[in-house]
């Protein structure tokens, strides 16, 4: 376990030094979600939210509703981006040396996701927390629920990142996953619009993104004062997703290693 943690921390540090040298990157990573958030917020201004079909959305808390969506989204988006960035290890030849070492592949991928989750979303997180604090009167939070939901959501984001990282390692041609997973995740997970009002086919698509469940649980406990009893189905599904993601990641890592040893594609870029 000590060895595993060493590798996770070393990988996180390496990625931090590799990609977050220039402080401007934090600004750029914040700017785009911020603009997108503002666009969504002012789009809602055109509608009468008091007549909203969603019980817990009103004109008073729409800002917090969207902020939670964008904060969570920045977590999940950052891990997908981290996986995409990790594929550059193949080009620089360093992936070969990672595979040459006996280090746990899960620990390496986790370290990469961990670094990205916190570094890519830290400014958005701070901004969101400050804005929510400023609008705290619109919160209707269940503290116990929040304490339970938060770690579940962070673990889920991390494992989603590790899983996507593992998929990206399969071959140099997996970049298409980035296109498939990034934008659709924002659209179908209910970041801007609640999943509840989606048509059936879109609801079906939203089911495949863990972010959907994380957002639903987070919004329920922060805006609707929902206790654990009310959101138990969402929490159980989230825990199930965590277990499935972990298993899928371990299997993918095994398949990837077997595949690269068979095809030798670790040296192709």
């Amino acid at each position: 376990m000590k060895y595993f943690i060493k590798v996770v921390l070393a990988e996180s540090y390496k990625q931090h030094r590799n990609y977050f040298n220039n402080k401007m990157i934090y600004v750029s990573l914040f700017l785009w979600p911020l603009l997108s958030f503002l666009a969504s917020y002012y789009s809602y201004k055109a509608f009468d939210l008091e007549e909203s079909a969603i019980s817990y959305i009103n004109s008073g808390n729409i800002l917090v509703f969207l902020l939670i969506g964008y904060m969570a989204m920045s977590f999940f988006r950052s891990v997908v981006q981290s996986a995409w960035r990790f594929s550059s290890e193949r080009q620089s030849g360093t992936l070969e040396y990672i595979y040459l070492s006996p280090a746990s592949r899960l620990a390496v991928l986790m370290g990469n996701a961990l670094s990205s989750v916190f570094e890519s979303s830290v400014v958005m997180l701070v901004f969101g927390i400050l804005m929510i604090f400023y609008n705290r009167e619109s919160l209707h939070a269940n503290v116990v629920g929040l304490v339970v939901v938060m770690p579940i959501y962070v673990i889920m984001a991390l494992l989603w990142g590790v899983f996507i990282n593992a998929c990206f390692l399969y071959s140099r041609d997996t970049d298409f996953l980035f296109t498939i997973l990034e934008e659709p995740m924002e659209i179908f997970s209910g970041v801007k619009v609640p999943v509840m009002i989606f048509p059936g086919w879109a609801k079906l698509l939203s089911c495949i993104f863990p972010l959907t469940y994380a957002l639903e649980a987070l919004r329920q406990v922060t805006l609707n004062n929902s206790d654990l009893g009310t959101i138990k189905i969402t929490v159980l599904i989230s825990i199930l997703i965590i277990v499935v993601l972990l298993a899928a990641t371990l299997i993918t890592i095994h398949i990837v290693e077997k595949h690269v040893r068979k095809t030798g594609n670790i040296i192709l870029f």
Binding site: Y3, K6, V7, L9, A10, E11, Y13, K14, R17, N18, N21, S92, G93, T94, E96, Y97, I98, Y99, L100, S101, P102, A103, V108, V260, R261, K262, T263, G264, I266, I267
Partner: protein, 331 residues
């Protein structure tokens, strides 16, 4: 000891025939290679015509799984247990890739050290020692992107030693380096084998490097072993005849003719070639004393007389030409 027997690697390669149609074909990268690396020994792997050197090294480092054959690593079945092998090996490749340019040398070594789970106190000491060995201790805290090619290559050497491996695989380690840096690296490689008892496999395009460093050489062609042996055994095998260089003051065609007649009495198949005022004599027989006696008898002043030892380079070029000729005849 590392011992591979009849190692083979066949790739299943997809070939696009049209947008919707793909066919698969088998590509044999390594047909049949057997070799052995002992501790404290530097073994050279030379190749001709896409020989499969890199695939062989990747199989030895467990990065690629062989299709057939056996691989024994200090008695461990390395194909079935690659994780047991990884701790005890490392690879050093030439070029500027494979290190993190934005990180400092210290950070690079620290990162790779963590991948091997090395205790932090021991790792710190080892990094300092390695940086000293490769002469980068003063630049340890500078980003690698500010390094020269030679410095990056020296860092690669330090990285390859971070886990104190028993066996090291050197894949073109001096490619693109200047003569001074290359000499330093040669010294280091020799010391790793002779002083520290590490087993080393070296591939290089520079035959003089292999000649200088390797105790034993394997020559592969198109995935198959062509010949193996020490440098002497290889050159003796390829150059079955001796070569002498002989020149005297005032050498002319008449002297050469008399020399030829004289030597043909000993070896009728001997050849005497005259060019630029000097003779090259090729013969199966030992002719040193006969040539010297000829000069004395003729009262000639000798400028030069020595037996020419063929270089490994000459041997490989000759062997390569022979193989090409053989291939053409078969075709």
């Amino acid at each position: 000891m590392i011992e591979i027997k009849n190692l083979q690697k066949v790739y299943d390669v997809k070939r696009r025939q049209s947008f919707f149609h793909m066919t698969r074909e088998k590509v044999v990268a390594v047909k049949d290679i057997s070799m052995r690396i002992d501790k404290g020994q530097i073994v050279g792997l030379l190749g001709i015509n896409g020989a499969g050197k890199t695939t062989t090294i990747k199989m030895l480092t467990t990065l690629i799984e062989p299709t057939n054959g056996t691989y024994s690593f200090d008695g461990i079945d390395a194909i079935a247990n690659p994780d047991l092998v990884k701790r005890q090996i490392n690879m050093i490749a030439g070029g500027e890739r494979m290190i993190y340019w934005r990180l400092t040398a210290y950070e690079n070594l620290w990162y790779y050290g963590q991948l091997y789970g090395i205790d932090n106190t021991l790792l710190k000491k080892r990094i300092e020692k390695l940086l000293q060995i490769v002469g980068l201790e003063d630049k340890a805290d500078l980003p690698v992107e500010t390094y020269s090619k030679g410095m990056k290559q020296r860092l690669q050497i330090a990285r390859g030693l971070i886990n104190d491996p028993k066996y090291i695989f050197l894949d073109e380690p001096t490619i693109g380096l200047d003569a001074v840096v290359t000499q330093d690296l040669h010294k280091e490689i020799r010391s790793l084998a002779k002083d520290q008892g590490k087993g080393i496999l070296l591939t290089s395009h520079y035959l003089s490097e292999v000649e200088e460093l390797c105790d034993y050489i394997y020559l592969v062609n198109k995935g198959e072993l062509v010949i193996e042996g020490t440098k002497k055994e290889l050159t003796d095998y390829v150059f079955a005849r001796n070569r002498y260089v002989f020149s005297v003051r005032g050498m002319d065609k008449k002297i050469v003719c008399r020399l030829r007649d004289n030597l043909r009495m000993i070896d009728p198949e001997s050849e005497v070639l005259f060019e630029d005022g000097s003779c090259t004599i090729i013969s199966k027989a030992e002719l040193s004393s006969a040539i010297a006696e000829f000069a004395l008898k003729e009262k000639l002043v000798i400028n030069e007389l020595h037996k020419q030892e063929p270089s490994l380079e000459q041997a490989v070029i000759k062997l390569s030409k022979n193989l090409e000729r053989k291939d053409t005849q078969i075709a």
